[in-house]
């Protein structure tokens, strides 16, 4: 089967110059939930930042569905291979601004933000009581995590790259969120690449990768 997402090689070291990984490449098929596991501090988050082109990786090539992206095309790449970051960052403003902003940027200008779908998804993850005009700085950590996740899903890129998107959520809510992510990733021409803390959650992945000692291998 032809690869849907191909990127690499990526190399990175931490602040002290210790090598996190070297020459790591990814080649993934569509319609899958792929998990990345490995010891903490092993560079999983850094690897996701390289895949989503947030980290500077001049030697890496990136290919999605046969189309190559580099240089000035990287914003377009990120709009298709989007990161749901670990600490659920928010832009200063309201819930609505946070969900909607990708649609106001150049790469999303032809697409429409769907209010009804947003409200529906918020209900699914237990945020139905949250008004759209609420300032995000007043949200709790758990609310922010769910909002960040919904933002990724509403944006509906080709690939969602998520860094521990379920961290700190109640088990019930976490399972609903994982279902939503799976629904997203298991469609044709979509892909979910996810770092998960909980082995039980990773066990549901279609393909499990493990980053340890600087190498990315199939997890046993």
């Amino acid at each position: 089967m032809a690869a849907f997402l191909e990127c690499g090689p990526f190399s990175a070291s931490d602040g002290e110059g210790r090598v996190l990984f070297e020459g790591v490449s990814l080649s993934l098929t569509d319609g899958q939930f792929v998990s990345v596991e490995g010891p903490s501090g092993g560079g999983k988050s850094t690897l996701l930042r390289h895949v989503t082109a947030l980290a500077h990786s001049p030697d890496a090539a990136r290919k999605l569905n046969g189309e190559c992206f580099s240089g000035a095309e990287l914003p377009e790449w990120r709009s298709r291979v989007s990161l749901v970051a670990q600490d659920a960052p928010m832009i200063a403003g309201t819930v609505r601004e946070n969900l909607e902003f990708p649609f106001c940027q150049r790469t999303g200008r032809e697409r429409r933000f769907d209010d009804v779908r947003a409200a529906g998804m918020m209900t699914q993850v237990g945020l139905e009581q949250l008004p759209f005009d609420r300032e995000v700085r007043t949200l709790s950590g758990g609310e922010r995590h769910r909002l960040a996740l919904i933002r990724g899903l509403l944006w509906d890129p080709r690939v969602i790259v998520a860094d521990e998107p379920l961290a700190g959520l109640d088990p019930d809510i976490a399972s609903v969120c994982l279902d939503l992510l799976l629904q997203f990733g298991r469609r044709p021409r979509r892909l979910l690449l996810c770092v998960l803390h909980d082995p039980a959650m990773s066990a549901r992945a279609d393909r499990r990768l493990r980053l340890a000692n600087g190498h990315l291998k199939a997890a046993v």
């Binding site: 989503t52 082109a53 947030l54 980290a55 500077h56 580099s70 240089g71 000035a72 990287l74 914003p75 377009e76 990120r78 709009s79 298709r80 989007s82 990161l83 970051a85 600490d87 960052p89 928010m90 832009i91 200063a92 902003f101 990708p102 940027q105 150049r106 790469t107 999303g108 933002r151 944006w155």
Partner: protein, 266 residues
């Protein structure tokens, strides 16, 4: 223009008493600033003294090459000073600051001296040097505030900037917020002093002209020109310097390169 009281060495010596008074306050309250105050006072005397001597020569010679040379030298010092005041640096910051200073001087200074005031000949040092000096002095403050705020914004709000980038923001979109924030910060001092001019404070230049015997309305007219000139210079300079700085921290690939920040050496 000659009905003013000349100041000689005796008068200057008497003024020194004031600095000693300030130093005594510092010592009495153990503020510890007396040393810095003393050095600053000494620098003021030496720097202004040298400037006076140079200006006397340049005014006497009225040579365009000398005037332009002095102006260039002033832009270099202004750029250096602006960079020294910023708490973070990057490679090439001095070049960016200098380019900005030179460009604002050329555009705004050129407009004011050649079009508004209509100086004859074009390099007449009596007008060109003080006017451009004022542009430099004020854009120096504006540019250093602006640069400082810009880099600070990049660091403190990097998560927010990267969030936009993660969803496909272009360089222009990703840097729009830090740019706005920085230019606004850089313009605060001049906007404030324009708003307070004449009510809270008598601007320094106007005061000087009045002391030197100019009719107050003439001094006011010059002051208005100068304030508008400074506002334009600061706005243009602030915008230009952050656009230049932005290029160091983000290429067309819109990757945020905070690794290019260095902390100030002193």
């Amino acid at each position: 223009m000659s009905n003013f009281i000349e100041l000689g060495p005796l008068q200057l010596a008497l003024a020194t008493v004031l600095i000693f008074a300030a130093g005594l306050v510092s010592m009495a309250l153990q503020l510890g600033v007396e040393r810095r105050l003393g050095i600053a006072a000494l620098r003021t005397v030496i720097q202004l003294g040298l400037l006076g001597l140079v200006l006397e020569q340049i005014f006497a010679l009225r040579n365009p090459v000398l005037v332009v040379g002095l102006l260039l030298l002033m832009t270099v010092f202004a750029a250096r000073e602006a960079v020294t005041r910023a708490s973070r640096h990057y490679r090439g910051i001095l070049v960016d600051a200098w380019l900005t200073m030179a460009a604002t001087c050329l555009v705004v200074g050129g407009m004011v001296t050649q079009v508004v005031v209509g100086v004859e000949p074009w390099y007449e040092p009596q007008y060109v040097i003080p006017l451009l000096g004022m542009i430099l002095g004020n854009s120096l403050t504006g540019i250093s505030l602006c640069l400082d705020r810009f880099m600070d914004h990049l660091v403190v709000r990097s998560a927010e900037i990267e969030l936009r980038i993660a969803f496909g923001a272009t360089r222009r979109e990703a840097l729009a917020a830090p740019l706005r924030d920085a230019v606004r910060t850089g313009m605060i001092p001049i906007v404030n002093s324009m708003a307070a001019a004449g009510i809270v404070s008598l601007p320094g230049m106007m005061t000087g002209q009045i002391l030197a015997g100019s009719p107050p309305l003439q001094a006011v007219a010059y002051q208005i020109v100068v304030m508008f000139m400074i506002a334009a210079a600061v706005a243009l300079g602030a915008m230009m310097v952050v656009v230049l700085a932005g290029r160091h921290f983000m290429g067309v690939d819109a990757t945020l390169r905070l690794d290019r920040l260095t902390s100030a050496k002193n």
